[in-house]
Amino acid sequence: MPDDIRYGLNRHVSLPGPLPLDGGGRLSPVEIGYETYGTLNADKSNAILICHALTGDQHVASIHPSTGKPGWWTRMIGPGLPVDPARHFIVCANVLGSCMGSSGPAAIDPACLMAYGMRFPVITIRDMVRAQALLLDHLGVERLHAVVGGSMGGMQALSWPATFPDRVDAVLAIASTARHSAQNIAFHEVGRQAIMADPKWRGGDYYADADPPSAGLAVARMAAHITYLSEAGLTEKFGRKLQGRDAKTFGFDADFQVESYLRHQGISFTDRFDANSYLYITRAMDYFDLAEEHNGHLANAFKPSHARFCLISFDTDWLYPTAESRAIVHALNAAGAPVSFVELKSPFGHDAFLLEAPEMNRIADGFLRAGENR
C-alpha cells in the first residue's frame, strides 16, 4: 500500500462519473482533491472520513500549500489524538464546488475548455456526499468506520447515513445542524450579495484575466466571521480597544481593533479562496434540509441506518445553537438510533470546534473507540 499512488498527501483524481446531481444534470468528470493518512487495514474496517466546513479543504492535518499553515484540525487528527493515523485510515476530500482541486466553478469545463464560472451546476450537501462516495470506491473503501465533521462538515456527516445507510458505522457531528435556518440563509445572502455587487465579479467570469472580486469576497468573509465568534469572545478579545492609536481619528480608518481584525480576516481569505466557490458552497448549505429530503420527517432520514451517532454542541454557538443538535437527537431517538449528545461550555462560539477542547476530544475518542473494541 505505501507505493499505491492513490494514498498520501496532496492527491488528486479525475473520476469519469457521471455524477447525477440533486439539481438535475450530471457532472463528468468528477475531479477530487484529497489526502489520506494512515493505512487501510486488511479487513478494511478502519476508514474514517473527515468532512470539512465551508472554507476548509483536504489539508486537515498537513501543511496548507498556499498559506504554509498547519492543517485545520490538528487538534482532532494526529498521533495520540481521537482520529489517529496509527489506528485509522483517514480520508479528507475537498468538497464538490470548492477550489482546492475538486470540481467547482474555478475548474475547467471540458465542454468549452474554460473555467465553468456560473455555468457550474448548483450543488447540494448530498451531492458532495455522493462525490465522497465515488472517491471511497476509488480508494477501495466500502464501509466507513466513522464519518466526522464540524459545521458544514457535520451536515455532510449527517447526510452520509441518510444517503448511504449501509456504508457508515458511526457519525460524529459537531457544532452542526440538520437544516439551515432563516438566519443562517440571511447571513449567507449578505455574503453572496457582497461578492456579486463587486464590479470585478462580472457574472462570475473573472478567471481569464486573474482579477477576482476580492473586495466583495473579503466583505462576505467579514460578515460570516462574526457569526463564528461569540459576543463575549469578541468583547474579551477586542472590547472597544483602539488599533495602534491613542484616540479616535474621526474618520473611517480601522480605528477599532475589531475592525482591523475583521479586515485582516477578509483580505487574507481572498488569497486562498475563490469567490464563485463561496457562492456555490453557501448555496448548498442554504438548500440543506435533511428532513425535507425525507418527506418532512428528520427521523425518516435515519431509520434505514444502523449507525451510532454522537452530537456535540457549544453553549455560545449562535450560528448552529444547541437547539439544532437537540432536534437531531430527538429525531434519532424517534428512529431508535444509538445516540450520544452533549453541550460543551466554551467562550469561543461556533469556532470552538476547531480550537483546543479537551472535553470534545475525550468524547470523540470514547465514541470512536466504542466501535473498535467489539
Binding site: S340, E359, R362, F367, R369
Partner: protein
C-alpha cells in the same frame, strides 16, 4: 468495579439482551455493567455534562438532557425497561415522570431514598431540623432533592395511578432488609413496576 447496592439489585433483575433506558444515568456505571454483563442495549439520559462526557468516553450512548422535559422525545414502548435510580426525588413532577417511564418502557425500575426511615424521623422529631443523614447528606438549601418521598407515599401514588408492582426490594446500607415495616426500617427502596 462494584455497583451501588440499589443498582446491583436492578442489574440483577434486568433480563439478558433487553433494551434499557437509564434516566439520570450518572457516569454510566449501571449501563456499562448491563452492557458488559448482560448484553443489554442501554441508552442513557443525564443532566450533568461532565457525567455525560464520562459515560460517552466509556463508549455508552448518553444524551445530555433533563428528565422533566426530555422524556417526551422517546417513542411509546421503545424500551423493555426504563430505569430511574435515585432521581425521582430530584424531578419537578415525579408523578408525570412515572407516567413517562411506563409509557417509554414496558417495565420501570424506580429507586429512591426513604424519607420515613427511622433515623430521618428521629432527626426531625428530636432535632426539629431538616434531616441530614447518610443517604440525605446535603443541607435543605442546597439539596437536589426537591420532592422528598416515603415508601408509603410512593405506594399510595402507584395505587392512584393504577400502576402494578412487580417487585420491591429494601435496603439498609449495603444490605437488603425485609419488606416488613419497610417504611420505618428501610433507608432505600427499589421498585419494579408495570402498567
Amino acid at each position: 468495579m462494584s455497583l451501588r447496592p440499589d443498582l446491583a439489585i436492578i442489574a440483577g433483575h434486568v433480563a439478558q439482551g433487553s433494551r434499557v433506558l437509564d434516566v439520570g444515568c450518572g457516569d454510566g456505571a449501571l449501563m456499562a455493567a448491563l452492557r458488559d454483563g448482560k448484553g443489554v442495549d442501554a441508552r442513557g439520559l443525564e443532566i450533568d455534562p461532565d457525567n455525560v462526557s464520562r459515560a460517552v468516553a466509556r463508549g455508552l450512548s448518553v444524551i445530555q438532557g433533563n428528565a422533566d422535559t426530555d422524556l417526551a422525545d422517546y417513542p411509546d414502548g421503545s424500551f423493555d425497561y426504563a430505569i430511574l435510580s435515585q432521581t425521582l426525588q430530584t424531578t419537578m413532577r415525579p408523578d408525570l415522570i412515572l407516567d413517562q417511564l411506563l409509557r417509554i418502557g414496558r417495565h420501570a425500575f424506580v429507586s429512591f431514598p426513604n424519607f420515613a426511615h427511622w433515623r430521618v424521623r428521629l432527626s426531625l422529631l428530636w432535632g426539629g431540623r431538616m434531616p441530614v443523614t447518610r443517604l440525605l447528606p446535603v443541607a435543605w438549601y442546597e439539596t437536589l432533592n426537591i420532592h422528598h418521598v416515603t415508601i408509603d407515599d410512593f405506594r399510595a401514588l402507584l395505587k392512584t395511578r393504577g400502576i402494578t408492582v412487580e417487585g420491591a426490594w429494601f435496603l439498609n446500607g449495603d444490605r437488603e432488609t425485609s419488606a416488613a415495616a419497610a417504611n420505618f426500617r428501610a433507608e432505600h427502596a427499589v421498585f419494579l413496576l408495570r402498567r
